[in-house]
Subunit: 197 residues, 2 copies
DNA sequence: GTTTTTGTACTGACCAGTCAGTTTAGAAGT
DNA sequence: ACTTCTAAACTGACTGGTCAGTACAAAAAC
C-alpha cells in the first residue's frame, strides 16, 4: 500500500498542494499560472498534469484536502464535550488550524463567497460539511438549554465559522507581529458573552 | 459644467463601474476581462481605455469610489452621537451600505486580504481610512468610560469592520431569501453584549 | 520492467492594450 | 435657423504576448 512509488507520488502531490495554496492565497486562482505552481514546487510542468487532470481539478482536490482536514479537527475537538465547552473547543480548533495553515485560510476567505466559478459548487459543499459540525454542537446546546432557545442554528453556525476566519486572517495580514493567542482569547470572550442564555 | 459632454462621460464611467463591480464580485479581478466589462456596460472596448488608463487603474478608481462612499456614510452616521449609540449607528450604516452595494461588498470581502497584487497598497490605504472612523468612535468610548478600558482600539475596530462584512455577505450569498434586517439585529445584539464594560 | 518524473517544444485560445477611423455635441460663422 | 467646423467621445479590428494543456523521448526511481 505505502510502497516507495506511492509515497513518492503522494509527496509530489503534497508539494504541488503547498505551492498552489501559497500562490493562490497571494494572487488568486486565475492570476496563478500552472508554470508558477510547478516552478515553486520544484517540479516539471508535465508532472502537474501527470498528477492532476487540470488546473481546476488540482484546485478542487486542494480544497477537498484542506477543508477535509479542518472538518476532521472540528470533529476531534468536540468529541465527548458538553455544548458550551465544545463551542470554545471549536473556536480554538479553528484558530489553531488557521495558524498552522495560514495560506489556506487566506485562500478560503478570498474564494469562499465567490459566485460563478467552476469550483464554486465543490466549495459550497465542503463549507457545508465543516459548518455542519458546528451546527451539531449548537443544536445540542439549544436542545439542552445551554444556549438560548431562540438561536437560529444555521445562521449562528455559519456566522461563527466566518467570524473566526475573518478575524484571524485580518490579524495575520494586517497585524502579523502580534501573537495569535490574543485573537483566540478575544474571540473566546466574544463567543462566551454571546452564548449566554 | 454639466453640459452634454461631461454628463455623457460621467454616465459612461458610471456604467463601467457598475459592470466592473458586478463581474469582479462574481469572478474576481483576474478572471474578469476588459471585453466582459465593456460588453456588460454596453460600450466598445476602446471606450474603457478612453476613460481609464488601464484595467488596474479602473479597478483602483472603483475601489476609491466605493470605499470613499462608505467612509462618508460612516462619518455621517456617527456625527454628534455619544460613543455607544455611535457604535450601533456604525453597524447600521455598514449593513445599510452592504445592502445597497452588495456586489461591491462581496468584491471587498474577496480582495481585501490579498497580498502581492498591484492595487493592494491602494486598498490597504482606503481600508485604513474607513476603519479610522470606527477607531475614533471606539477611542472616544474608551476615553469616556463607555467602553472597557482594556479594549485594543485598533484590533476592535478592524474586527468590527470585518465581522460586519463577513456576516452580511455570507448571509447575502448563502441565505439570500432571509431579510437583512435580521442580520442587523443579530449583529447589534452581539456588539451590545461585547461592548459591555 | 513498470511507474513516475523530466525537459523541451509546441498549439490554439484568449486577452490587455493600441490605433486609425467614425460619430456626436455644441460652438462659431452666416 | 441652418450649415460648417472642431474637439471630445466612442468604435472595433488588430497585435503581441501569455498561458492551459499536449506530446513525447529520455531518464530516474523503485
Amino acid at each position: 500500500m505505502t510502497d516507495g512509488r506511492t509515497r513518492r507520488r503522494v509527496d509530489t502531490r503534497q508539494r504541488l498542494f503547498v505551492a498552489a495554496v501559497e500562490l493562490i492565497a497571494e494572487q488568486g486562482f486565475s492570476a496563478t499560472t500552472v508554470d508558477d505552481i510547478a516552478t515553486r514546487a520544484g517540479v516539471a510542468k508535465g508532472t502537474v498534469y501527470y498528477n492532476f487532470e487540470s488546473k481546476t481539478v488540482l484546485f478542487e482536490e486542494l480544497l477537498r484536502h484542506g477543508i477535509g482536514l479542518l472538518t476532521a479537527e472540528f470533529r476531534a475537538a468536540v468529541a465527548g464535550l458538553p455544548p458550551r465547552e465544545a463551542l470554545a473547543a471549536l473556536v480554538r480548533a479553528e484558530l489553531d488550524y488557521i495558524r498552522r495553515y495560514r495560506a489556506f485560510a487566506q485562500l478560503l476567505l478570498s474564494e469562499m463567497w465567490r459566485t460563478n466559478r467552476e469550483w464554486q459548487q465543490t466549495l459550497r459543499l465542503l463549507r457545508g460539511e465543516a459548518i455542519e459540525v458546528i451546527a451539531e454542537t449548537v443544536r445540542a446546546g439549544v436542545a439542552s438549554g445551554d444556549l438560548p432557545a431562540d438561536l437560529d442554528v444555521r445562521t449562528a453556525s455559519s456566522a461563527l465559522f466566518g467570524v473566526g476566519l475573518v478575524v484571524a486572517v485580518d490579524w495575520l495580514v494586517f497585524q502579523p507581529e502580534r501573537p495569535i493567542e490574543d485573537v483566540q482569547e478575544a474571540l473566546l470572550g466574544i463567543v462566551r458573552r454571546v452564548a449566554q442564555t
